[in-house]
């Protein structure tokens, strides 16, 4: 005959505590894994702009990043940027160079597409549209959310790669061609996967689509 043993009060409390702990751990795991959970996705239907011709919408995993372009500051660079967007050349472009809370960089058309990442050559790819002359501005301040054309060590080597600053970087003033500024969605960019203090990101996040606002 099996004798049933009644659990003591303290054992019951411990049992309930363990169940609560497992529920908490389980839910936390799934909630924390979703890095986009508390990020505003920026619904385009709710946004209005005074100059929609110069608004670009970059869609990434966590939502839409809205960028206002500045053709008055750097006309050639903005013209190039619009061409690359309109030809959908940025779609699938990886954020292969990311410095945590500092900047994100993407736009290597040749070697930086998520479907064709080549780490041995990344950063040296060409768009096929030729190099641009740097359009530097000593007045443009690279504050948080500034978008600039990346270049090689030398000036006048801008092509398609661009970066977005996640904090003010005063040393970039007069060094890089400004393209525009993020007007909505900077918090989305802070969720882009970083290289953990390394220069390149392994299995990087990428641009799903990049469109001009008017074409949406």
């Amino acid at each position: 005959m099996i004798k049933t043993i009644k659990a003591s009060k303290s054992e019951k409390i411990l049992f309930i505590f363990l169940i609560c702990l497992s529920i908490f751990a389980f839910t936390s795991f799934f909630l924390l894994k979703n890095k986009c959970l508390f990020v505003d996705k920026n619904n385009l239907n709710k946004l209005n702009f005074n100059n929609p011709d110069n608004i670009a919408v970059m869609n990434v995993e966590c939502g839409n990043v809205i960028i206002e372009l500045y053709p008055n500051i750097s006309p050639k660079a903005v013209e190039r940027f619009k061409i690359l967007i309109e030809q959908k050349m940025y779609d699938g472009s990886a954020f292969y160079k990311v410095s945590e809370n500092t900047f994100v960089q993407a736009g290597d058309i040749e070697y930086g597409n998520i479907n064709n990442l080549d780490y041995s050559k990344i950063g040296s790819g060409k768009s096929g549209l030729g190099l641009l002359k740097s359009e530097l501005s000593n007045d443009f301040k690279f504050t948080e959310g500034s978008v600039g054309f990346a270049r090689a060590t030398e000036f006048d080597t801008e092509d398609s790669e661009f970066f977005i600053t996640l904090k003010e970087i005063p040393i970039y003033q007069g060094e890089y061609t400004p393209i525009g500024k993020v007007v909505y969605g900077l918090d989305i960019l802070t969720n882009i996967k970083t290289g953990n203090k390394a220069i390149y990101v392994l299995r990087p996040d990428y641009i799903k689509t990049f469109r001009m606002f008017n074409s949406n």
Binding site: K97, S99, A198
Partner: protein, 242 residues
């Protein structure tokens, strides 16, 4: 093969600090020391040790900020003698301060890098020659950007035909920086190493001890020709530097 490539990649991406300054001038562990200056030069300091270059052959240690603060007025005073237009022409924008600078295990006062518009300075370099050293290294940047004005064969032709420079600046034992009492065409022993060091020594003395040079060239025809060569060609870049 793929695993090997992945291993190399992980090793590679784990050992390079990527920040905004590294992104710009390819030197890690730097921070801004002073950004706004009349001649647009920007001063950076090493907040940590760094190794750069081919096979990481250039190394330097982080600066002691008190040490830098005490030496900065002298550095700034000397660099303020170059205007922004001239600095643009010689591709110099960033001065990097660090301590104990070595290239291929040889201690050096400065390393110019025209490509990244940077001059790395060891703030612990010999106090006696520190000011001269800065101008000496700047001359290398001048020559690198204006090689057509500072032709080494033409400059070497001012020497006695029996004299030969060494193969390279570090492959001779002609390293002393003291000014010769009797110059005989050369200001220091280091001037005898290679033509570009000879030119840089003349330029640095012209920037720091002009009167001494004026005195020396009166009795030294070779040196006189060399000094005129430097002056004449430098004036083609900027008339107001010397």
């Amino acid at each position: 093969m793929k695993i090997l490539f992945l291993f190399i990649l992980i090793f590679h991406i784990s050992h390079v600090n990527a920040d905004e300054i590294y992104n710009l001038i390819k030197i890690p562990n730097l921070e801004i020391y002073k950004l706004k200056n009349d001649n647009n030069i920007r001063y950076l300091s090493a907040k940590g040790d760094f190794k750069i270059g081919i096979n990481k052959n250039i190394s330097c240690d982080k600066v002691n900020i008190n040490n830098l603060n005490s030496k900065f007025p002298l550095i700034e005073k000397n660099l303020n003698r170059y205007n922004s237009n001239f600095l643009n022409k010689i591709k110099l924008k960033y001065i990097v301060f660090c301590e104990n600078l070595f290239i291929s295990e040889i201690n050096t006062g400065g390393i110019p890098d025209n490509k990244n518009r940077t001059l790395i300075l060891d703030i612990n370099f010999n106090k006696k020659y520190f000011e001269r050293m800065m101008h000496h290294e700047i001359f290398h940047m001048i020559q690198n950007t204006h090689i057509e004005y500072f032709d080494e064969n033409k400059f070497s032709s001012f020497n006695m035909t029996s004299f030969n420079y060494a193969e390279c600046s570090t492959c001779s034992d002609r390293l002393n920086l003291d000014l010769y009492e009797k110059t005989d065409g050369f200001l220091t022993e280091y001037s005898k190493s290679i033509p570009s060091e000879d030119m840089a020594e003349i330029f640095s003395f012209l920037m720091t001890d002009k009167e001494i040079i004026e005195d020396k060239i009166n009795s030294d025809k070779i040196l006189n020709n060399k000094v005129n060569f430097i002056r004449l060609n430098l004036a083609k870049i900027d008339k107001n530097i010397l």
